[in-house]
């Protein structure tokens, strides 16, 4: 093997209070530059699967909802396939982007995604992972983006290999959304406190 000269990953810096200008300019009133904000629509009329709404807030250590966070999600389609060239197991639903981006609402701090329930995807050893949505959260005061996952309360999560890695079993609950409507789930993220969300170094 030829030796490689490795480089170091560029250091992360906070997204700051004005992340909207670059990532969701229409949301902050800068219109006419990009036709629409990236990640604002994940579905169209032909998307296969069970339509769901995912909403929630990101809370700081004082229990206050962040008003300046940006939340991104990435998930498999209804069959458990990712719409990505790295997906070698089959062709994902062409009517599903798998990617959502939402700036939290400036008064309430709420994020909302209209999506579908993802299918299960395998873990590295072939065991199935329970249906989940990958989250990435940035905001002023967050120095490096936080990775976490949403799991569903109405699925069997007991054999999930990732949840199985969490030593304090009580903390598993922080990754399980609450069913708050017919097809609606609420996922609140807590950056600190007794029920601090599990974040991943992944």
């Amino acid at each position: 093997m030829k030796p490689l000269d490795y480089l170091k990953e560029s250091p992360s810096q906070t997204a700051g209070p004005y992340v909207h200008i670059g990532c969701t300019p229409n949301f902050c009133g800068i219109e006419g530059v990009f036709a629409e904000d990236l990640g604002s629509t994940m579905l169209n009329g032909q998307t296969k699967g069970e339509r769901i709404t995912v909403r929630g807030r990101v809370f700081d250590g004082t229990g206050t909802a962040l008003k300046d966070a940006m939340v991104e999600i990435w998930q498999a389609d209804a069959e458990g396939l990712y719409p990505s060239p790295q997906e070698k197991r089959g062709q994902a639903d062409e009517n599903f982007t798998g990617f959502g981006r939402c700036p939290v609402e400036q008064e309430t701090g709420e994020f909302v995604f209209e999506t579908i329930k993802p299918g299960t995807v395998p873990f590295n050893d072939g065991r199935p992972q329970a249906s989940h949505i990958t989250f990435w959260i940035v905001a002023r005061g967050i120095n490096i983006g936080l990775h976490t996952r949403l799991y569903f309360p109405d699925e069997d999560n007991s054999a999930d290999p990732v949840l199985g890695r969490i030593e304090l079993k009580k903390r598993v609950e922080t990754l399980i959304a609450e069913k708050t409507g017919d097809a609606e789930y609420t996922f609140n993220v807590r950056l600190q406190g007794h029920n601090e969300t599990v974040f991943f170094d992944i």
Partner: protein, 241 residues
């Protein structure tokens, strides 16, 4: 293209979550250890973006908000460089999004109340996608420094914010670019959370006279490194490395 798992993020090279000199981090930093785990397919894959989503002026902040044939005020600059991974390989197809203050240090955002005026011809956002050799470029106005409420007299050096998508969601990165020679870099609490001087220097763009357009715009060179993937034995044979 490799689809292997990612090298573990070097947390000693990255800023910590809790950095008391940046006061907002105090209540927004997780206190538990992160759960370390080899990436699964959920993080090795990621959204992809293609050229046809881009408008003609998306990478031209000089013109993309200018009105009635006028131009924004300030030093005209070109920023260009390459997106590489930790294996020193170019990363094509990366969506880069940028945002910045105007020449006076003011953002077009309702939360920015700095006294410096808005520039009616400057929006402050742009984006592009890296080419097959990892290269990217955009044109803009050099942003001004600005004060911010942290200490009583903290100033941000001139900087451009960058957001990048690699080929896997685990590579997702938001960072900032600084300008060679700016004395405020070394006084900034946000810069100083980067633990190594070499890491800070990675974020400082260098003047590139060869790319500078005479009588028009000064060029800066800014390379960005995303996390690298492990290659499998199979790929090693294929690529002969």
């Amino acid at each position: 293209m490799s689809d292997g798992s990612f090298f573990q993020r070097d947390r000693d090279w990255q800023p910590a979550a809790l950095t008391p000199q940046y006061k907002t981090s105090l209540k927004r930093s997780p206190t538990h250890a992160l759960l370390s785990m080899d990436s699964s397919i959920s993080e090795r894959t990621g959204p992809t973006f293609n050229q046809n989503m881009l408008g003609e002026l998306d990478n031209d902040l000089v013109l993309n908000y200018a009105k009635d044939g006028e131009l924004p005020v300030g030093e005209r600059i070109i920023v260009q460089g390459r997106v590489l991974d930790e294996n020193a390989r170019p990363v094509p197809g990366v969506l880069l999004e940028f945002w910045q203050a105007n020449a006076g240090g003011r953002y077009r955002h309702k939360k920015d109340g700095y006294l410096a005026p808005l520039d009616p011809n400057f929006g402050g956002c742009g984006r592009t996608i890296s080419a097959a050799d990892g290269s990217y470029a955009f044109r803009s106005i050099k942003p001004g420094p600005y004060p911010w409420p942290n200490g009583v007299n903290d100033w941000r050096p001139s900087h451009i914010h960058f957001s990048l998508f690699g080929s896997g969601f685990a590579q997702r990165l938001i960072t900032q670019m600084y300008f060679e020679g700016d004395p405020l870099i070394w006084k900034c609490p946000i810069v100083s959370m980067i633990p190594n001087k070499g890491g800070i220097e990675q974020l400082i763009a260098r003047i590139d006279m060869n790319a500078t357009m005479p009588m028009d715009a000064i060029a800066y060179r800014f390379d960005i490194v995303l996390r690298g993937r492990r290659s499998t034995m199979f790929e090693n044979r294929l690529e002969g490395n």
